[in-house]
């Protein structure tokens, strides 16, 4: 596919939103509500109807303030669960908007389960049940009705910068030879987190049976890294405790049906571990297995059999594969405990807190660029509603910036033309290579390095300096080998760019893991050479900036701040 056949489309918009998931849809709709003259373009690599995390649906709103909970108590909970290190300002601002976001979803048509007072039915303290199989199509409908322009099937690859300011972004169509350049006064990044960095639980025919979508490959992180944006807390990876093999979430069983975690001897093993935080529930499971007391289960056998059917319905709304597991095993959910395991590590700011370093308005360190949702850092446990709140906050700030005249100055034609030409050449290069590495080969290499040297499943998530140093060396080499990637068609080109982005994310991740010399989060960041939590020296943020010219990741430490004090750029 020769470069000459590519058509270049240059579009202009007031605001460009990259990624049409929970955060992106919320941002675009908010912008159009604020000002119906605003020209908003949403670019999505798949189709907004069923893209990203929400493709299969959801069965609970995981972040919601039930009666008795307040934004303060929510922030306190997230802080406790995250070993005391969070951006309190960000988490608090998320908490304040959670319930409104849930009501918004209901307004768009998502059916909530209600109690006899007409209130949302709690599933846990901070969650409510929902019949959310169709959440994504309903969100997409609201997006279309808002009047935002939607460009589906366009995969964004890099920002366009002028004088250090983000003035737009480039990408390619995954269906036809078209290259897009979108110039905007403000850009909101909402591309979700990154899966596929580590070797996954299953191989071969099930290699994509992940919990997090294998199609969220950290593009937004990588674009920011390559543009020199400041990133935060990549070292707080997220590792999910999931149903073995099918990788279905466990919330409906553990929280909804109150199934206890038991080991191979039938003991409730969590009682033997110091605290009941999310990482500890995972760590305990890993340890029980290592010490010969595995396998571990969620004990569904104490359930009322009548609940079995309700559970199956809840899973159909979010992760239908587990029904096949029960059917193939010839059991009902209450007849056999459900085996659980840890997933491969993900980089995802909506569960952990890896992502762009943003201020309270969700402005990144690059002027003109905002970030929201799983791609934004510092605020764990956002989930759907929290991501929507961040989309809204980013939209409000972008609109304010545009109104105050803080828009991009146009780039001189000639410079723009040269920039586009350079980006086009870089994006296309794998199509022109006659020989080289396929996306699969590069991905397998990346996943092997990360699994074996940077705390993957095969080493029980454990990290140590010497292995991380090897990971660093191998990743530097792999990054160079990316220049030898080859693709035969647009789909393979997409796959190649997905791997390229993940390699950049992995490089930054390894530097963060190396820098934090303590163990703050069990499993997520388990430094066996520094096995204790050290608040005296490490109650602070590890941030970084990448320099593309020298290929070096520079670490920056930032102080912890209590609620009421804000971080500014």
């Amino acid at each position: 596919m020769a470069r000459g056949r590519w058509a270049v489309r240059v579009l202009h918009a007031d605001v460009l939103v990259i990624g049409g998931g929970a955060a992106g849809c919320s941002a675009a709709i908010t912008l159009r509500e604020l000002d119906e003259d605003l020209d908003v373009v949403v670019v999505e690599k798949a189709h907004v109807e069923r893209s990203g995390c929400l493709a299969a649906g959801i069965n609970a709103i995981n972040a919601y303030l039930n009666p008795g909970e307040t934004p303060e108590s929510f922030t306190e909970y997230v802080k406790r669960d995250s070993a005391g290190l969070i951006r309190e300002d960000l988490v608090y601002s998320v908490a304040r908007g959670l319930n409104e976001a849930a009501e918004r979803l209901e307004g768009w048509g998502v059916p909530f389960v209600k109690d006899s007072h007409g209130r949302y039915l709690p599933r846990g303290k901070r969650s409510v049940w929902v019949r959310g199989e169709k959440i994504k199509p309903l969100m997409a409908r609201a997006l279309i009705y808002s009047g935002a322009r939607v460009l589906n099937r366009v995969n964004m690859t890099n920002y366009l910068l002028a004088g250090g300011r983000v003035i737009g972004a480039c990408g390619f169509s995954v269906r036809e030879p078209k290259f897009y350049v979108i110039l905007a006064k403000a850009v909101i990044c909402a591309t979700g987190g990154a899966a596929g960095i580590y070797r996954p639980n299953n191989e071969g025919p099930c290699r994509h049976k992940l919990w997090y979508p294998p199609f969220n490959t950290g593009a937004g992180y990588a674009m920011g890294i390559r543009a020199g944006a400041e990133m935060t807390t990549f070292e707080m990876r997220f590792i999910a405790l999931r149903v073995k093999d099918v990788m279905s979430p466990t919330g409906a069983l553990a929280q909804g049906a109150r199934a206890a975690q038991i080991n191979g001897r039938g003991e409730r093993y969590l009682e033997n571990y110091p605290d009941p935080s999310t990482p500890m529930r995972l760590y305990a499971t890993v340890m029980e297995n290592r010490q010969g007391r595995g396998p571990c289960f969620l004990d569904t056998t104490t359930l009322d059999p009548a609940l079995s059917r309700r559970l199956k319905e809840a899973y159909l709304d979010m992760s239908p594969g587990i029904l096949l597991k029960w059917a193939d095993e010839g059991v009902e959910p209450h007849e056999r405990p459900v085996e659980i395991c840890g997933s491969e590590p993900y980089v995802v700011g909506g569960h952990g807190q890896a992502g762009y370093w943003v201020d309270i308005k969700r402005r990144t360190s690059l002027p003109g660029l905002f970030a929201a949702g799983d791609v934004a850092g510092g605020a764990p446990k956002k989930y759907v509603t929290g991501c929507m709140v961040e989309g809204k906050l980013a939209a409000e700030a972008a609109w304010q910036a545009i109104r105050s005249g803080d828009g991009a100055r146009p780039m001189p034609e000639e410079l723009l033309r040269r920039n586009i030409e350079r980006e086009l050449q870089w994006v296309m290069a794998p199509l022109e290579a006659e020989t080289g590495f396929t996306a699969d080969e590069l991905e397998e290499r990346l996943q092997k390095i990360m699994d074996e040297y940077a705390g993957g499943i095969s080493c029980h998530y454990e990290l140590c300096r010497h292995k991380l140093l090897l990971a660093r060396d191998y990743l530097v080499q792999l990054r160079r080998d990316l220049a030898r990637a080859k693709a035969r068609n647009l789909y393979e080109l997409l796959r190649v760019h997905e791997v390229i982005d993940r390699v950049y994310v992995a490089r930054v991740l390894v530097e963060h893991l190396l820098h934090r010399e303590e163990t703050r989060w069990r499993c997520y960041q388990e430094r066996v050479d520094f096995p204790h939590r050290d608040d005296e020296n490490w109650l602070k943020f590890v941030n970084s900036r990448y320099d593309p010219v020298t290929d070096v990741v520079r670490i920056i430490e930032r102080d912890y701040k209590e609620l009421g004090e804000s971080h500014e750029h």
């Binding site: 299969a56 009047g147 299953n202």
Partner: protein, 118 residues
């Protein structure tokens, strides 16, 4: 986890420029082959989200578990109907279990702001 496309049932969505399954897959995995029927680029790359299973008007797509993780022939198919979704779980012995689940509030009203989208 993966899907299988029944080539007898698939009608390629007629003359539609983009088939419904092709449009919906979050991983860009589905396409129509030279015979006009739907196919998956690489079955290993399916996430198992079931979006295509729900979308196909011919119920030509079903979900199953590969043998590696214990698959023994159970299948899931789905059909959209008004504000509900109907699922059929078929077990290896041929027995079926049906589910009918609400997925949209019938009374939902969506705000119109601005002109329609593109």
């Amino acid at each position: 986890m993966s899907i299988k496309i029944d080539r007898e049932r698939c009608n390629g969505c007629g003359l539609a420029e983009e088939a419904l399954c092709e449009r919906i897959c979050p991983g860009n995995l589905l396409f129509r082959g030279e015979d006009g029927r739907a196919a998956i680029r690489d079955a290993r790359d399916c996430w198992g989200c079931a979006a295509c299973v729900k979308e196909c008007p011919q119920q030509a797509i079903h979900m199953y578990l590969p043998m590696q993780i214990g698959g023994r022939g159970s299948t899931l198919t789905a059909r959209k109907k008004g504000h509900e979704i109907l699922w059929t779980l078929r077990r290896p012995d041929g027995s079926e279990e049906l589910f009918r689940i609400i997925n949209e509030r019938p009374e939902a009203v969506v705000n119109h702001t601005g002109a329609g989208g593109s």
